[in-house]
Symmetry: C2
Subunit: 157 residues, 2 copies
Amino acid sequence: MDKIRFAPRLSVEEVEEGCVLAPKFGPDGLIPCITTDADSSEVLMLGWMTAEALRLTLETGEAHYFSRARQTLWRKGATSGLVQQVVEARIDDDQDAIWLRVAVAGSGASCHVGYRSCFYRAIPTGSAAGALLVFMEDQKSFDPVATYGDAANPTQL
Amino acid sequence: MDKIRFAPRLSVEEVEEGCVLAPKFGPDGLIPCITTDADSSEVLMLGWMTAEALRLTLETGEAHYFSRARQTLWRKGATSGLVQQVVEARIDDDQDAIWLRVAVAGSGASCHVGYRSCFYRAIPTGSAAGALLVFMEDQKSFDPVATYGDAANPTQL
């Protein structure tokens, strides 16, 4: 039995100022999800959710996403063990984006490349704009080859 | 003269492990951008950028987005004065998402509804899943009517 119901979006006022969950999914059926570490506040990843992934996340308290590369529902940590326990979920003003604050199991990493955060590189700005990207994590938190074996890399060109 | 050049995406290894900026824009020409408060680490908003908006953000050090509602380039704070000064910019593993850490001018708010963060409502999870949204900010930081007058509300149903 589903505990979660997504309400219809009937008015801007209700969507912005109301207390009813009425998420908007894009033409591809997806809503973006910002995931941060509940302890450090670091942004770990930007994921995508179908209605099913959002419902499972809210009901189970564990982050579920939709893998655009594999075109399938994805319980985060199913392969790696790096499960994301939801500490708090939020939705934005027009209800077309989710923010999850999570506690990550194991090494605490969330990036398939092996880093803690997917955002492990800084882009120089201002007078330094145009310079090379700068790595912000000294080393990987886990070995992706040992963890994922020969599974296809989700990064698409 | 543009200081920023976006490199072609030639290999997964270079995109993930390299130091060259090679962002991926979606079929709509947009890349999502997570914007957090550099001081509090709070997530303020999820915005969208065209190549031009990203280039201007990196070169000027002030956040620029693309307004999907108005279908136009948007220097954040142009109307409200709530300019976002970029403290740090990052890009994710497959270079299809941006993270900006910013210092917000004036009241420090970033949400057109008047709140500090666009994510001013929590969604109950787990055993409380299905309950009403909970407001996480006691009051608005500014009066959107006084600030925006009769400009069209960007929220779309």
